[in-house]
């Protein structure tokens, strides 16, 4: 940037807004993280003395550990399914021509637009109706529906940006269409796959609203956290939140190192 540019009012305003937004967005996270280190069983800021006891207390509450493990497994499996489906659908939507393609495209993206309450409720009605007794499978299906549009959107945009002549060139050099996909298309999709994994994982792991409808026993972590603060407000929840905040930040940094943060957003 030129020296003069920094002084123009628009740049100053934009910078100020960026800082205020950043502060407003991160301050609650900062407060939550700090309260996790309280010495007493009150969730207050600033803390009444310092300790790590609430972090150890997480382990002492088996329902939280179980919920975390449950959410982790759910996020991993639903992301894997969504990304596999996302690759196949994105290739079909961007590389093949078939009747109704644009309609299907719009339909596949649509869960992003449906309010979570309605999505959760309709899944609940559906599972009750078919008499499903499989809470994990129910949630898995919901989470695939929740995460798939993100996987599709990210992978699809990477395929649109890719030069389709590359695949043609590969075929012209003797590659079958399968080889052309695996040797030319797929390697160039890789950064978008990292991004898709990240998005799907976060969307699944964080989801509260829709998941709450399908939670009977064996809650996901966000739902379990909600149950817990209804009964007690000790800083254990702050401690687990602090862990989530730190690990999310860690993932963002790793993703930035691998693919560059500008490709994620």
């Amino acid at each position: 940037m030129k020296a003069g540019a920094a002084r123009d009012p628009l740049t100053i305003a934009a910078t100020a807004i960026a800082f205020v937004t950043l502060f407003a967005a991160t301050f609650p996270l900062f407060v939550t993280t700090i309260t996790a280190f309280n010495a007493t069983n009150e969730t207050v800021f600033p803390p009444n003395g310092w300790s790590l006891r609430w972090f150890w207390n997480i382990v002492a509450q088996p329902e939280l550990v179980e919920a975390a493990a449950f959410s982790l497994v759910l996020a991993v499996i639903s992301s894997a399914i969504s990304i596999s489906l996302g690759v196949v659908s994105a290739v079909a939507l961007t590389r093949k021509k078939f009747p109704g393609r644009d309609l299907i495209d719009a339909f596949l993206m649509s869960p992003l637009l449906v309010p979570q309450v309605i999505l959760g409720l309709s899944f609940l009605v559906f599972f009750v109706r078919i008499g499903s007794k499989q809470p994990f499978l129910n949630l898995l299906l919901l989470h695939v529906v929740l995460t798939f549009p993100y996987a599709l959107r990210v992978i699809r945009s990477s395929l649109i940006r890719m030069n389709p002549k590359l695949e043609e060139a590969a075929v012209g050099l003797g590659a079958s269409s399968l080889k052309s996909f695996f040797l030319v298309t797929f390697p160039q999709m890789r950064p978008s796959l990292f991004v898709a994994i990240f998005f799907c994982f976060v969307v699944s792991f964080d989801n509260f609203t829709a998941s709450a409808f399908l939670t009977v026993s064996g809650a996901t972590l966000p739902v379990q956290i909600y149950f817990n603060i209804e009964s007690s407000l000790d800083p254990t929840i702050s401690a687990i939140s602090a862990l989530l905040i730190v690990s999310s930040a860690f993932f963002v940094i790793v993703a930035d190192r691998v693919v560059g943060v500008e490709k994620i957003v």
């Binding site: 590359l166 060139a169 075929v171 012209g172 050099l173 590659a175 040797l183």
Partner: protein
């Protein structure tokens, strides 16, 4: 290298309602360099892609080396193709790019290496084998694309406007290099371009395309001197066109240029009627030495190195372009009255857009 000719027999390509190639026929002899020249959208790329097997032909047939390839998929046609943007694989090194076609043919790793090295050497890329395409200049990328296409020893080489992305100096260097390479390898080549100078300087023969059809295919000098249609005359080189009338008196034909007091006695007989007379700018000179002459006013001059390019206007306000090369001495100044003239034998006469024999 084994040489294969290409015979294209009345092919038609359809995309829904649009018909970019219409009953097009073209024979390329083994080892020959043929250019497809035409304005943007006339179907050059589509023709090239149907040779390569990427555009389905609705009618007609294509034979390579005498064998029909109608039912041969693109990946089995053994064709080398170079794209305008080169289409190099960005995630592969130069060596891997060049070796890709051999890898698809299950050639052993050792041989791939050897042949990629040899191809790189031939195209002056030896120092760049470990680089990635993004790390190369435009000219180097183009040589990688050529090496990648040629290393598999294809039956034919197809090039789709490969020079379009290069700057002028580099383009002229690459034209010489491509021509040398093509002759030394001896490969049958079809070259697509919309740049007439490029086509004139590179080709054994040029096929001028318009609207999905070939209007004329000839050697560059024949094409330039005897354009078969008015469209070809205007597309290849610069054409001065005069509207005129032919009349026959006592078995002799005369041509009168419309709006000008010029009557030209012809040495052959033509049908009476409306025609157009075409002259190249360098066939017109100042002075009245040549057989046909008319008065003009000099409007502007541009010096282009090898010649001075004049725009002059006739009494009927028609603009005529005249090129005066270094050896000619008569050089009127802007605003002056002058006389232009030309030889009878340089005139080409078009009736309904077609050359009169």
């Amino acid at each position: 290298m084994k040489q294969a000719g290409i015979e294209i027999e009345k092919i038609t390509v359809r995309y829904g309602n649009s018909v970019p190639v219409r009953a097009l026929s073209l024979d390329v002899k083994p080892g020959e360099f043929v250019s497809l020249l035409g304005p943007s959208g006339c179907g050059k790329t589509t023709t090239l892609r149907s040779i390569a097997g990427f555009s389905d032909i609705a009618e007609g047939d294509i034979r390579i080396g005498g064998v029909s390839v109608r039912d041969v998929p693109a990946n089995k046609r053994n064709i080398g193709m170079v794209y305008q943007d080169y289409a190099l694989f960005p995630h592969m090194s130069v060596e891997k790019n060049i070796g890709f076609g051999l890898r698809m043919r299950n050639v052993s790793a050792d041989e791939i290496r050897q042949r990629a090295f040899a191809a790189a050497e031939q195209l002056r890329l030896s120092g760049f084998l470990d680089r990635y395409p993004q790390q190369l200049s435009g000219g180097q990328q183009q040589r990688v694309a050529l090496a990648r296409a040629l290393v598999v020893r294809p039956d034919v080489l197809l090039l789709d406007e490969p020079m379009a992305a290069l700057d002028k100096q580099l383009r002229s260097d690459m034209q010489f290099e491509l021509k040398d390479l093509q002759k030394s390898v001896g490969i049958t080549t079809v070259f697509v371009t919309h740049d007439q100078e490029e086509a004139l300087s590179l080709s054994d023969r040029i096929a001028v395309m318009h609207d999905g059809k070939i209007l004329q295919i000839d050697k560059p000098d024949t094409l330039y001197q005897f354009p078969a249609t008015r469209f070809v005359a205007e597309f290849v080189g610069t054409a001065n066109l005069f509207k005129a009338k032919v009349s026959n008196v006592g078995g002799k034909s005369r041509i009168e240029l419309d709006g000008l007091n010029v009557s030209i006695q012809l040495d052959r007989e033509l049908k009476a009627g409306e025609v157009e007379v075409m002259l190249r700018p360098e066939q017109i000179e100042f002075g009245n030495e040549a057989s046909v002459s008319l008065p003009v006013r000099v409007q502007s001059t541009v010096f282009v190195g090898v010649a001075t390019r004049y725009q002059v206007t006739t009494a009927s306000r028609q603009v005529v372009r005249v090129d005066v090369s270094g050896v000619q001495s008569v050089r009127p100044a802007t605003g002056e009255q002058a006389t232009i003239s030309w030889r009878l034998s340089d005139m080409r006469i078009y009736r309904d857009g077609r050359l009169e024999p």
